[in-house]
């Protein structure tokens, strides 16, 4: 039995056939070849697979793809492009908020969701917003600095 999945991905309508037990992560990476969304644990622990579902961050490894039916999904490819970076993407570069970069896509989307909801968060609120995104390389400090810099309008 296949499911005819229709949803909006980074503003574009997408139709694809999926198995009903496939995760959104699998559909994005393997069926749609959108590998910007990363995979670290497939258990909801690491946050590397974070995407925005109707503006809210979700771990796409835990979301069955049919659950995204009719909804809006934003992945890292939709946040900004090399030609037109989102301020958070620019800030992550400027502040050196990445080492291996593998946590980056998920981290950036969690941060983007926070700043949309709460444009001037405290440091504590920033730390809470990225609590579900593990970074094994950086120690978080520069990530928090980068997000706060954007919230203060200090990044072009």
């Amino acid at each position: 039995m296949t499911f005819h999945l229709r949803f909006w991905l980074n503003g574009q309508e997408v139709r694809t056939e999926v198995e009903p037990d496939e995760t959104l992560l699998w559909v994005l990476r393997e069926r749609l070849n959108m590998t910007g969304t990363k995979v670290g644990c497939e258990a909801g622990d690491c946050g590397a697979c974070t995407v925005l579902l109707d503006g809210r961050p979700v771990t796409s490894c835990l979301l069955l793809a049919p659950k995204a039916h009719g909804r809006h999904v934003v992945t890292i490819e939709g946040l900004g492009s090399p030609a037109k970076l989102h301020p958070l993407q620019q800030a992550f570069i400027t502040y050196g908020a990445l080492q291996c970069g593998f946590c980056g896509p998920g981290m950036l989307l969690s941060a983007a969701a926070l700043l949309t909801q709460n444009p001037h968060p405290t440091e504590r609120e920033v730390r809470e917003a990225i609590a579900g995104n593990l970074c094994r390389c950086t120690g978080y400090q520069k990530i928090v600095q980068a997000i706060l810099a954007v919230s203060r309008g200090e990044v072009p």
Binding site: R29, N33, M34, T35, G36, T37, K38, V39, G40, C41, E42, A43, D45, C46, A48, T75, I76, E77, L79, G80, S81, P82, L85, Q89, F92, I93, T94, G96, L98, Q99, C100, G101, F102, C103, G104, P105, L108, L134, C135, R136, C137
Partner: protein, 434 residues
């Protein structure tokens, strides 16, 4: 001040250094990373690609009686199953050639791979891996390196459980202890640590013309992997090309060959690209870890706070295979006396096989373990002579021209400046006890 003379670097290096030092520079690949365009091992794909899945041992120690892939091979979509028999040269390792690409006569730790399946989809490969029948005869296992050193302990390999033994001697430690007024003795233990790089091990092998092979892998040492793959698959080195993808964290955990010969051989056998990604469970269970150490420190000191003798015994739990264990232990032994002037030193290191996960390279390579021990121990020795730990360190710390127990003479030592600066920044008051 000692000046090291060396040939003048070419001007271009000079220029680059001038432009870079003291300036903020962004990573060369930062733009690709933040936009999700960087390609990691898990992101690699090729048309017509198969997925591979390993069959792993549920036993810490067992004899393999029989492996029967018939049922797995009968599943629609399964393309190939490989076992130890398919590996032309089933031995590798840096210092000890003890590791198997796939287990042959025995498995020696939980999670050791005995077979690998390639199938049209990951789903089929995962199902088929469960259908490979492996008959085991469980053997007594040993999980504690001290027990493993005792006579009569289960033997992880032929030839005894002590895989390597290292020692460093400087001066006459017995005389040193006889000159000491106070002797402090302590034991320290450190645990297993998994690297837990966010990206799991992942590779894609693509067969090329005339039996050549290209392997894209999330790996820290592509050239080492290429030569090991060529060796175990008995191929000319010129036929194996290993390309390192962006690496989603390594920390030493991707410092050696793991899944590359499996996907490589499966690609050669099937004539199709083969991809493999470890699950997080496999990362914890079946990939290398930081070696747990037991360290016994014994230090002789005079009442005025002068160090006179130190003996250190390090027992490293190697796990089932040596991997980087011997070189890690060597580095630990070199550092074990700590950054202090001690005239009489004896250091002994034992690398001991157990049926635990294989210890490998991890950040610091043996030094974090001994660093933890000798600095805790330094505090205890300082307390035993009634000195505050900073005064004690400043008094005994290494300086320019000091000789290490290995014979190395040091230049440009900044220990005292570093300590002083740390004191200033921390607002440490002389005499305070931590």
């Amino acid at each position: 001040m000692t000046v090291i003379t060396r040939p003048a670097p070419p001007p271009v290096v000079e220029e680059a250094a001038e432009g870079a030092v003291g300036k903020r520079k962004s990573r060369h690949d930062a733009l690709l990373q933040v936009t999700g365009q960087a390609l990691y091992g898990v992101d690699m794909k090729a048309p017509g690609m198969l997925w591979a899945k390993a069959v792993r041992s549920p036993y810490p120690h067992a004899r393999i009686v029989r492996i029967d892939p018939t049922r797995a091979l009968s599943i629609p979509g399964v393309a190939c199953v490989i076992t130890a028999r398919d590996i032309p040269h089933n031995r590798y390792g840096f210092t000890h050639q003890d590791q198997r690409v796939l287990a042959d006569d025995r498995v020696r730790y939980v999670g050791e791979a005995v077979a690998v399946v390639a199938a049209e989809t990951l789903r089929v490969a995962t199902e088929a891996a469960k259908e490979v029948v492996v008959e085991y005869e469980p053997l007594p296992a040993v999980f504690d390196p001290i027990e493993a050193m005792q006579p009569g302990a289960p033997q992880v390999h032929e030839g005894g459980n002590i895989a390597a033994r290292l020692h460093i001697r400087d001066g006459d430690v017995e005389r040193g202890f006889s000159e000491a007024e106070i002797i402090v003795e302590e034991e320290f233990r450190t645990p297993f640590v998994e690297h837990c790089h966010l990206e799991p091990h992942a590779a894609l092998a693509i067969p090329g013309p005339q039996g050549t092979l290209t392997i894209y892998s999330s790996v820290q040492r592509p050239f080492l992997v290429a030569s090991d793959v060529a060796k175990v698959l008995s191929m000319p080195l010129s036929h194996v090309r290993v390309v390192a993808t962006s690496v989603g964290g390594g920390f030493g955990g991707k410092n050696e060959m793991t899944l590359e010969p499996w996907v490589g051989l499966l690609a050669l056998r099937t004539g199709r690209p083969v991809k493999m990604v470890f699950t997080r469970e496999e990362e914890f269970q079946a990939t290398t870890v930081r070696h747990p150490y037991r360290m016994r420190y014994r230090t002789g000191v005079r009442r005025d706070g002068t160090l006179v003798a130190r003996s250190v015994e390090i027992i490293s739990d190697c796990g089932a295979y040596v991997s980087w264990g011997a070189s890690t232990l060597a580095k630990a032994c070199i550092h074990a006396a700590g950054p202090y002037v001690i005239p009489h030193v004896k250091i002994e290191g034992f690398l001991v096989y157990t049926n635990n996960p294989v210890g490998g390279a991890m950040r610091g390579f043996g030094v974090p373990q001994v660093g933890f021990a000798y600095e805790c121990h330094t505090d205890s020795v300082a307390a035993a002579v009634g000195m505050d730990p900073i005064t004690f360190r400043l008094r005994n710390g290494l300086r320019d021209g000091c000789r290490l127990p290995t014979g190395q003479v040091l230049e440009r030592v900044t220990l005292h400046q570093t300590l002083q600066r740390a004191l200033e920044l921390a607002g440490w008051e002389r005499g305070a006890v931590p």
